[in-house]
Each structure stands twice: as structure tokens, then as C-alpha cells.
Amino acid sequence: MMMLTLNATSVSNIRGGNKSDQSLGCWCVLLLLFVSVASAGRDVDSGSNDTGRNPAPEDSHHQTNSTHHKKAFPVLSFNFDHVRKPFEISLWILLALLMKLGFHIIPRVSHVVPESCLLIVVGLLVGGIIKAFDEDAPVQMLDSKFFFLYLLPPIILDAGYFLPMRPFTENLGTILVFAVVGTLWNAFFIGLTMYGVCQIEAVKLGRVDLLSCLLFGSIVSAVDPVAVLAVFEEIHINELLHILVFGESLLNDAVTVVLYHLFTEFSHKGTVTVADAFLGVVSFFVVSLGGILIGAIYGIIGAFTSRFTSHSRVIEPLFVFLYSYMAYLSAEVFHLSGIMSLIACGVVMRPYVEANISHKSYTTIKYFLKMWSSVSETLIFIFLGVSTVAQPHPWNWTFVVVTVVVCFVSRVLGVVSLTYIINKFRIVKLTKKDQFIVAYGGLRGAIAFSLGFLLPDNEMKQLFLTAIITVIFYTVFVQGMTIRPLVELLAVKKKKESKGSINEEIHTQFLDHLLTGIEDICGHYGHHHWKDKLNRFNKAYVKKWLITGERSTEPQLISFYNKMEMKQAMMLVESGSAAKLPTIMTPVSMQNIQPKEPLKRRAIPSISKSREQEIRKMLRGNLQKTRQRLRSYSRHDLMVDPFEEDVSEVRLRKQRVEMERRMSHYLTVPANRQETPPVRKVAFESEHQVYTYDDSESPKGRRAQTNPRPPDEVHLLSESSTRTNQRATPADEQDDQLKLSRCLSDPGPKKDDDES
């Protein structure tokens, strides 16, 4: 260490006696220090005298007493190999994200062209640049292993975890038909047509055999979830169409996996027997159901684990991510459908985990998933562009063009004919407009490319890859860019902005029960009946095991309501200062909807003894604080109140918390009027003045300015006005504290101890 400082100071001496350079010199010193420590460390570790030992030129001047066999100590050395891999990865990710930022600065372009297209173009440019500099540079970025193991899972997990369950389950039949039958149809149609084309003498592709064509067909037929997500997210289409196309892209993975493996095996063997075909069908069921089973198992384990995480809230999100990733990897071990496993895990885990984890963990999970999936998506598109440049592209006009045309044709035919059949079973039929969007939204993407890359190396591989890339480019560029104006032109219904209305939630639940009842009266077991049965089973058995404490019995309406309460309170905290408050919230208050009370209710009631004592204690405490405050106020500080400056920030924040408490209160808990005498609520107007009022004046009272209170008194306001029943009080205190602690509890061991 001393030698280093010696060298550093010697360096600074060289740099100079010039005063103006001394600051610069200091920075250089620090930098050199850092680099030399790094290289010194590496030298200690490796203990070898290889690269990086070039002594800095300054050193050689000073090593007068060193003999020729003793190497000078390197102050600055260059060793890139040490950090090559992480450096390159980080640089790529950084580039991808900067591109993403850049697109939104150019508003015109980003409105017309979907982001995925721009990213592919960037990838092409970068690939071109790299190729130009170094012809032999291995530019193959979209390595299949990298893609399938690292880039794809975050996107799928994000999609699966936040899958809107209601429209998904309602349309499950339709989605499955499109995914399974549609993909099969596509694969065979494309494969057979391409085989037919290859047989034509003029095309000069007679070497291509049937199985290779079928394999090619199966790769290129699958709708890609990444591309669909990227494009559909920007057009905000209505929920039904979104879930149809998106669900199809997720569920066709099983079909793709089976077909791919089937045809690869067959093309090795050379002949196909009926038994093989039968085994193929069996393997489809095994792949899909097995994948779902593995996902469900991991999901349940994950939900069960989350039951015990109340004391280590910071690692909760990690459980979600790791269990899901393990589900994916486990499914891949057995060649089952990893995507379906991942989705099953997310779907199964979500309701229970969300009931158990804290609010902050929920936010963390949401944002981490969005972040990872966003980065993955960006990288995938850029790498797709780069990899395009890296490949040699044997171009056969006929083959490629016919592939593109046939893909489009088969998609349209498939969708139209399947819809005709499906509409016989659907209650709400799919219109022609819907069919068009479903057909047009069948985009191909990087999965097809990666699967193509995994093909065994034969003469056809490059041609196939070229064709696949062309199809991908066509669907992403042409269809992706034109789908938005087409949606506008056809006036397809857009996604409605739902604000989480409590009325809608009440009526959704009401409707569920109503329709179940009507079905029971009609006497046939339909969709609602089974859903109701599942819910009851869930409530009676599963929730007890997988959700902690009393939340296991909380009905859905109440948890929705609590969530809304919290959301609104947070919204107010973020948006409001006190002045803005009355205009944000409409002046409609509890008073407006409660029937008018006879006047004698306004008498001040009595409150319980314990409550009185609490109030007294608080009053005493505040009076003392006031006295302390007054003591430090001196005659000399007339202009500036010393406390105002210091505590203004704290006060503002406390004010906000106070407002949040009040508004959530304001919105939710009314006074108990009819049955029980109103309870006096205590609020602290300023720190030395206590203002008490009973409920009938509450709306006006609330608009008054308040000063901050110590945060440990937050409980009182929320509980005092609702609980008049003594027996209910401890349970509800706990309830409130539970709510509070889940809201604020990272980490909060003290508050958590109160939970029993």
C-alpha cells in the first residue's frame, strides 16, 4: 500500500508543480490508484508475469535503483480479458436501453413504427458495423441456449403472472382450439406446400425431403408471444382480442415443442410408422399436461413458502422469481413445455402469494418483472437484427417468397375456418372484424429463429434460416406497422380504461352469483356452476393452507376494497397538498348520502374509560411538547421560527400521512349512527390545542388545517370512530395494524410482533 502511495505522489510530482493542474492531478491520482490497485490485486492473484506488466512510462524514470531483472511496478495497466464477458453484456444491455430511450425522444417515428421494428433496425446497424470492422467476429448473439434460458423466461413470467384470469378462463376453449388445431394446421399446410414447391423442377431444390419441410413448417408456424406482446401493447386493443391472440401465442408452445422434437426424431430415423404418429399424439398430451403439472406444483410450493415470510419481507420477491424459474428449468429437463410450466406456476401462485406478501414486495415483484421483461424484449429484437447480419444468406427467391405468402394464407384460412366451428359453441360470437385482427396479429418472432438455429447442420439449414428471418421481418415490420392504422380504420373496440370502481366489482361478484343461480334453476351445469364449485373448494380447503392468518377467510370483495382504499390513500399522498384537497375529491361526503338525523343525536356522548385515559395521556404528552417548543423560542427570533425551517420537511410529510389517513377514513368508514351512539373522534388541530367533535360535524371539521402529529398516534383516529363495541376493538386494532404493517412493514419487526 505504501509503495502505491509513493508511486502516486511521485506521479503527481511529475505532473507538476503547476497549481492549476493540481486538481486535475488529484483526479488522475485517484484514477491511477484505483487502476493500479486493481491490477495489483490481479497480479497477486494470478502471480504471473504476463500482460499488464508494461510499466508506465513515468515509472521508468524513477526506477533508478531497480536492477534489470526486477520489473517495475505497473501503475497503469490494461487488462480487458479479465472483465470481457460482463463488460460486453453490460454494454449490450446499456446500448439496448439507450436505444429505447432514444425512440421516445423522436415522437413522430415512435407513433408510426412499433418499437420492435426500430430495435431490429438498430440491431442490423450494429451488426453491420461490427462486421465491417472485423470480418470474422463471431456476431452470433442470439445463441439458442442464451435465448431460451435467459432471455425468454422473464417475458413469459411477466405475461403469466399478470395474465388476466377472467377473460382467459372464459375464452379458454377458443384459445386452445386456435393454439392447438390452428398451429397444427399451419405446420402441415406450410410444410406440405413447401414440399410441393420444392418438387417443382425450376426451383432446383429437389433435395429437400418431406420431413425437413414439415420440420420447417412446424418451426415457422407458431405465433410468437414476444412479438405479439410488443406490438399489441402499443395498440390497446380490446380485452377479448388481446387475450385470444396472446393466449394462443402462449399455449401453442406445447404444440411447437412436440412437433419440433417429433420431426427431428423422424428425420433422423427416416421412416414414420403409425405407431410413431400415435406416440406423437400421446407425447403432445404428456408435454402440455406435464408442463402444467410441474408449474402447478412449484406454484403451490411457492405459495406455501410465502406463508412464512412475514419476518423477512425483503426476500419475498426472490421466492416468486426463483420458484418460477425453477419450474421452467425443471420442465425443460424433461423436454416438457417450459412456457406452459412457467405460466401455470405464475397463475397458481399469484392469488395466494398476493394475499401473503407485503405491499412493497408486491410492488417490487411487479416492477422487477416489468423491468426484466422489458430488457429481455429489447435485447431479443436487437440481437435478432445483429444475427441477421451474421448469417450467410443463400437466397432463393422462390422459396422465400412462397414461404411468406403461404404463411399468411394458411393463417387466414386457419382462423376463418376455426372461427366458423368455434362460433357454434361460443355464446358471444366472433365477428368478421375480430377474425381479421386475430389472423393479422399472428406475428412470428425470435422463438422461430432460435428453433431454426437449433436445427442440425445440413445444407438446408441456412436456407431455412433465411426464410424464417424473412417471415419474421415481414410479420414484424409490415404487419406490425400496419396493424395500428387498420385497427383505427376498422374501428375495432379499444381497451376500456378501468379505474377499479367498487361498484363494478360489487356487480361483477353479484353477477357471478346470479348467473350461477340461474344456471342452477335451469338445471344444467355450465361454466358458472363449475367456477363456483372451484371457488368454494378453494375457499374451504386450499386457502387455509396457503394463506397466513385471518386473510385466508377474507372474501374477495373485501380484499379488493382494501386494495382500493390503499391505492386511493397513496394517490392522495402523492398528489396532494392540503390546498388541493377539496377540488380533487368531490364535495360529496358521507353527510350527503346519509339520511338526515334528528337533532338530539348531536349530544356529546360518553366514551369508554380506557379511551379517556388514552386521550388524556396524549394530551399530556402534547402539552409537554408544546412547552418544550415554547422554551426554545426566544425574543431574538421574531422573524424566523427556528422550528419552521427544520421541521418543515418533516411536517409536510407528516401532514401528508395525516391526510392520507383522513382521506382513507373519509372514503370508507362512516359513522355508526342508527344503532350506537356516535363516538367522539379526537384530532389535533395544533400541538397545544385539542379539538373534539362528534361525527355529525365531521365533513366540515376535516377540511380544517391540521398540524403534524406523532406517527405513533395514527391508530387512534382510524379506530376510534368505527369501533364502539368493546369486544370488537382488539380484533379490529389488530386488523388495522395488520393492514398498516403490511403497508409499511419492510422491515418492521416491531409492528409485526403485534400480529398474532
Binding site: N423, S501, I506, D520, C522, H524, V588, P670
Partner: protein, 220 residues
């Protein structure tokens, strides 16, 4: 025998035109009606209460009441029946028909209004044309009635918040002394606009001749 059959078919024809069901659907529903009523001409409340699957339904009472509500017969009467015949049964069921591909936009609007009216009548138990706070509280309480004591206390809070929401979206500028009497049908329509009732409030009516479930009840 032949005359009776043609009479039944004519009656079905009338009903089909009135309610919009197809002939097969009406036949199936008639079979179910006869099963529920024990082969009599009318159904009473007890007949519906005896359905075992309904026992788990938290809003069972309201559903049964809706069948006997005169307002759902579209004949501008109020009050309730003691017993209903097949025609009234069918009228109530017709509220749950889905829209078809050929339904025009105006017909969809009318259908939505009809379904929302049905829901409104279920909530407005005293038939005064508005849903008061008390009635709404009752609705939420019934929804949460299977959830024990947690449900009872939160029900009031939820109903109040919901009422506040209706009031604030429909009547944005209320003074502190104005009183919002209750949710009228227009406000109800407004607040549930986003749910698209015509696509959600429907069940599947069997077209083909399917055997009805007997659920362990034997005919006596």
C-alpha cells in the same frame, strides 16, 4: 291429441316471438319447468327453494324473488306474484339471452338496458324507483353473508364507499347540505357502463334435446 300438439306448438310460437328463444330452447325450459313444479301449472317460491344447488348461493333470496317480481314481466305492474306460470318463468329467463351475430347496435343498447333494469329491480326491493343506501347496504351484506362476522362490518363500509362513488360520478357538484336520495336507474346505467352487460349477463340455453338433471330428487 293432434289438436293439443298443434296448440302447444302455436303457444310456443307466441312465446318464441315474445321472448326471442328458439322452439327447442322453449321445449327444454318447459321440461325443466314441469320438473320444478312437480308437473303442475305454476311454480311457487318453495318449489325454487327446494333446488339443492341453490342452497350455497348467498343471494338466493333475491334470485327467487326476481322470478316473482311483476316488474320483470315488462307489463308496467308492480308488486309480486305468489305463483308464476310458464310464460312468466320464460319472461324472466329471457333476460339472460346473449346477443347474436345479427344483433344490431340499437338492439344491443336495448338489451343492455333490459338487463340493467333486471339488476336494478333486484336491488330496489321497495319498488320506489331508487336504490337507497339501506337497500344497497343490504345487497352488499347478502353478498358477504357467507363470510361470517368479517363480512358484516366491512359490508357497511363497502356499501357506503360505493354509494359515494355513484354520487360523485353522477352529481359532481353537491353542496354540503344537499342530500342524495338514492341511485336512480339513469345513474345505475351510468355507473355500470363499463361492464358491457349484454356480453356478460347471459347463460347458455340448450338448443338440443338434453336430459335435465335430477339431482337426487325423485318425482312423487
Amino acid at each position: 291429441m293432434g289438436a293439443a300438439q298443434t296448440r302447444t306448438e302455436n303457444k310456443y310460437q307466441d312465446l318464441a316471438e315474445k321472448t326471442g328463444f328458439s322452439q327447442e330452447q322453449i321445449k327444454n325450459l318447459h321440461k325443466r319447468f314441469q320438473y320444478l313444479s312437480g308437473d303442475e301449472e305454476t311454480i311457487s317460491r318453495d318449489d325454487l327453494r327446494k333446488i339443492p344447488a341453490l342452497a350455497n348461493n348467498p343471494i338466493r333470496k333475491q334470485i327467487i324473488e326476481a322470478f316473482f317480481d311483476k316488474r320483470n314481466q315488462h307489463q308496467d305492474e308492480v308488486g309480486s306474484f305468489q305463483e308464476i306460470g310458464f310464460e312468466q318463468f320464460l319472461m324472466v329467463m329471457s333476460h339472460f339471452r346473449p346477443p347474436t351475430l345479427k344483433t344490431t347496435d340499437e338492439e344491443r343498447e336495448a338489451m343492455r338496458r333490459e338487463k340493467l333494469r333486471f339488476l336494478f329491480n333486484m336491488h330496489d326491493t321497495d319498488s320506489d324507483g331508487t336504490i337507497t343506501l339501506e337497500e344497497y347496504r343490504k345487497v352488499v351484506e347478502e353478498l358477504l353473508s357467507k363470510s361470517g362476522s368479517i363480512g358484516q362490518e366491512a359490508a357497511k363500509a363497502i356499501a357506503d364507499a360505493a354509494m359515494l362513488e355513484v354520487a360523485s360520478t353522477n352529481v359532481p357538484h353537491m353542496g354540503p347540505d344537499d342530500f342524495y336520495e338514492g341511485i336512480t336507474f339513469e345513474h345505475f346505467e351510468q355507473i355500470l357502463k363499463g361492464l358491457e352487460m349484454e356480453s356478460r349477463m347471459h347463460i347458455r340455453f340448450l338448443d338440443v334435446d338434453a336430459p335435465t338433471m335430477h339431482c337426487g330428487k325423485s318425482k312423487s
